[in-house]
Point group: C2
Chain length 591, copies 2
């Protein structure tokens, strides 16, 4: 193997243009491909900026030519040579007007045939991409995605810096949280039998920074939740975390809209119109069956409960009588896209979302086609078609069940169907603030109210009096930013008063003793002068997916984990030496 010796890179491959003709340049990178053509060897050289064509001509340098004959894909080389205009230009290549005639070649590293190709849209299995991540990362598309992510954080930092925010680091080794998701624990060697937790978010500490007078804080930081993994969920994720003092919700939404506008403008060249529209939680749930609706298409939910409340068809009237509802969506104008088999597939899909069944009405030039028509009175059927604005070419999908099931099923169906029909304009970025969330949601399993966001969320002022009597009616000063049906950020005004925070813990079922034991340091802090404050946190991974136009979260993370929380590259997690465990005073449980 050779060293670079005195050679110094003068240019990046992808930047060379016809204006560079005649210049002596030194390029370094990977051989993308090599072709021998008699007394010439051609090689495409790749670095992070792109490709350049190198010509090894025996007459220019016999030594370089002879070495070049041995080049293979992914060899790393340094080439010194002169830029010349190409005879046969390649319009598909940014540098296609020129080629570099090599005067000197150094082979810096040889390469075996790589187990995956270094080319975009290679449909290799993802586990191979993860195992050989360092090869996968060589693909221009992967580098581009990571650069987009970097650009986003750069815009965020510049914007926040220039608006007086201070980047403050909070600890990774912190206190286990008794409320919320499962913690990753870290045994302490020095403090036998005790554990740190990796933070689920810097929530309490950033609030204490506000109590500490820091005024405007931000941090782009790793957070951790040991939850069962699903697609696009990683055990560790990155949060853009923001908190401000002396503000109310309007102030926070205002500055954050400007931030989001800036990100899309600088990273995507897309101008977002402000203000970003707002909808209440109850409205989005009613109209879209989800608190993160994609508004780039219709298929809105309509409530048919009143129309069918007294129907002979018990599947409908029974659901209403049991306190549930009957709702429907109209796949307007796309009825013909669904054969009987197609509709039956939709029913299977609906069942995966929890539906017991899926009723449907298709309207064609032959009139109404529906297996449930015979169970409904003409009045009911007309009522449904009218309520759904049904006309020729439509497909109406109806679900009757508990409200939460109906919402989930239809909310998911509308998205899946829109995706399948390819009617979503992917060039659009639809932004929405969802506001007026309920403060609590009832947890059937735990048999108590849980905080919808977290226990530090401030109730809407006029609802505070309902905290102890009708908690389900209390709204929160909370807001989520939804982009194209993905929750990209969320936040709230926080409780900044000891008494109110205690009441909140009470509503969550804590005794005062338990509340003080677990959150005493926050309640104590509230004794000594607390500014009104609030903030927001964005999921950088999700935001990056939107900016990089990918549906795969692993594409915007350099070294992601699989759905079983393993790293295929390093094989983490691994077994460890028993001595290490002894030092930590822990042992692996026997089954």
């Amino acid at each position: 193997m050779e060293t670079m010796g005195k050679l110094r890179r003068t240019d990046m491959c992808g930047n060379l243009r016809i204006e560079d003709e005649g210049r002596e340049v030194t390029l370094m990178g990977w051989v993308q491909k090599r072709r021998n053509l008699g007394s010439l060897v051609f090689a495409d050289l790749r670095d992070t900026s792109g490709l350049a064509q190198i010509v090894f001509d025996e007459e220019v340098s016999k030594e370089a030519f002879e070495k070049a004959e041995k080049l293979r894909s992914e060899y790393v080389i340094a080439v010194r040579g002169t830029v010349k205009e190409r005879q046969s230009k390649n319009a598909e290549m940014a540098t296609g007007d020129v080629e570099i005639f090599a005067e000197e070649l150094k082979i810096l590293s040889e390469a075996e045939t790589p187990p995956i190709y270094i080319k975009d849209n290679d449909d290799v299995a993802e586990n191979m991409r993860l195992k050989y991540r360092y090869l996968d990362l060589r693909k221009p598309s992967m580098q581009e995605k990571l650069k987009k992510r970097h650009q986003a954080t750069k815009v965020v930092r510049n914007f926040l810096d220039s608006n007086g925010f201070i980047d403050v680091e909070t600890p990774m080794l912190t206190k286990p949280t008794p409320e919320g998701a499962r913690d990753y624990l870290v045994p302490s060697r020095v403090n036998d039998g005790k554990f740190y937790a990796l933070p689920q978010s810097p929530q309490i500490l950033k609030q204490l920074l506000m109590v500490g007078g820091m005024d405007r804080y931000y941090q782009i930081t790793k957070c951790f939740r040991d939850e069962d993994l699903r697609a696009n969920r990683q055990p560790e994720f990155t949060q853009i975390d923001i908190e401000m003092s002396f503000v109310d919700m309007e102030d926070i939404l205002d500055i954050n809209e400007k931030l989001v506008q800036k990100i899309f403008s600088e990273v995507k060249g897309v101008e977002i119109e402000l203000p970003i529209p707002r909808m209440s939680y109850s409205e989005v749930m009613e109209r879209f069956g989800t608190d993160k609706p994609d508004l780039r298409f219709g298929f809105e939910l309509n409530d048919l409960s009143e129309i069918v409340a007294k129907s002979e068809f018990k599947a409908f009237s029974g659901a209403v009588a049991d306190g549930g509802c009957v709702k429907a969506i109209n796949i307007k104008g796309h009825g013909e896209s669904f054969s009987r088999k197609g509709v039956s597939k939709l029913e299977d899909l609906a069942k995966t979302f929890g539906a017991k069944g899926l009723a449907w009405i298709k309207i064609s030039d032959e009139g109404i086609n529906s297996p449930i028509a015979k169970f409904l009175s003409d009045e009911e059927l007309d009522g449904i078609v009218k309520a759904m604005d049904g006309s020729e070419g439509d497909l109406i999908l109806i679900v009757a069940d508990k409200s939460s099931v109906v919402s989930t099923v239809l909310g998911n169906l509308r998205v899946d169907i829109a995706e399948k029909l390819e009617i979503i304009d992917k060039s659009k970025y639809n932004m929405l603030w969802v506001v007026d969330f309920p403060l609590f949601e009832y947890d059937e399993e735990e048999n108590r109210y849980m905080a919808k966001h977290h226990p530090f969320t401030h109730p809407v002022d006029e609802d505070i009096e309902l905290l102890e009597t009708e908690p389900e009616k209390v709204r929160a000063k909370a807001y989520d930013l939804v982009i194209n049906g993905d929750e990209i950020g969320g936040g709230s005004i926080r409780i900044s008063n000891q008494g109110l925070q205690e009441k909140m813990f009470g509503a969550l079922g804590f005794t005062m003793e338990a509340a003080w034991e677990k959150f005493g340091f926050l309640l104590e802090a509230f004794k000594y002068g607390v500014p009104p404050h609030g903030g927001i946190a964005y999921g950088l991974d999700r935001l990056s997916m939107v900016l990089a136009d990918t549906d795969n979260m692993r594409d915007v993370i350099a070294f992601p984990k699989t759905q079983s929380a393993t790293c295929l590259l390093t094989n983490a997690p691994t077994e460890v030496d028993v001595n290490q465990l002894e030092e930590l005073s822990i042992e692996i449980s026997k089954k």
Copy 2:
């Protein structure tokens, strides 16, 4: 408690000047102090920008005046009023030319008497500062230090961004490292009996980013070492981590000098002259007894071994005969500062650094005063005085021992003495690259060679052939940046060749099987084309200490841990529920 209502902060307290006279402003912050003066109440209002004096005049607003009478220190208030010129100006206050006559006052949060004062240089016990960190952080000096830290990262990011570096995040849940310091382990719930480790540094992963063609990477990230804590060492610390491809050592030092220059220029207003001087490891060890010398003062070490090698004084000649040495420093011109008792204290100090004794020669107008004079020949004594450039007013301190002990003792003594004599110019920032480190150091305990930096450090080319025969002679392509006697950063050119990396593991005592088991993913990556690469990592905490002019690392960390790795604010680490441990398939060992 009141809410801000319609009030919106218009200004920060510390920014008001005489030019603002007549403006109506709304300020929000904490009451620093309140004084009643008949029909007037004065309050100093504090926010993150500074202080402003508020006047509550019964005649301006009776309501505000009456509320103001109830104000106490650390109440949080919002005040609307008019800026007026002060009658008795306060030159000590940035806003001392003006005061604000309050028309409206809202008390946003009351406060009990805080357990620590909110004032700089309050000599409260540090454990109180840590327990009530949110109060300690209100001190202007603390906010200033955290802002300096933020400024530093901002400069670093801007500089690296504009030089084509990409900020890439590497995982926190990673693979345990078999070489180096002790890992923090994280049990995996999904993968029974297996553990992640928190990263000691992103070393291998950033190298794989280079193999992945990322070209120029940086990251400001948390790292973890579960070592016994000393002063100014935290279980988690922050690293400015940089790696570059297609470079050699000169390229890296060059761009990093510019980075450091930029940091000091923008954060401190101090212009660092480039190039930063370099010294070899062997030279700094010889002259200063340490690899991180403070060059802002003299007191250099001199070797007296030859002069006393044949002395009758066995303490000297014996040390030399045993393969050790005799060295001395001259506390030039400060002999009079040390009484006999003072010198005896120095000897005690020397013993804490591992010396068996400390010989000394004081030169006064009465001639030489030394307890060892009688054991030395005139020739030897003259030789020592001459070698040490001794003259009236000097104090020569001599240590005879194993070389490593002599270096440690004299290296530490010279710093401690210079500190005590207050001869160090604290306004100076002395920068030094230490280069030509040995690649290995012998570990007596483990009975094998260990990597001086880490096992991925590239040997100096001409020393590679010594790897298997005389490893102790092999120098590394490694460099440390020392500022004022503190190691602020360090890095190296990395091995980028599978065969050489295997040889390196061999020299460290690994069998090839063990090397592949533990570092197989790196060795495997080296098969597929590796660019020459290298980098550096700075300790952001230490750098921030220098920039914030503090000797206490905890002053540049918002929520630091104690020397027993606990957080006095949150009480982390804590005991956890046995169910949590069960889920993780671990239990606490019985003693």
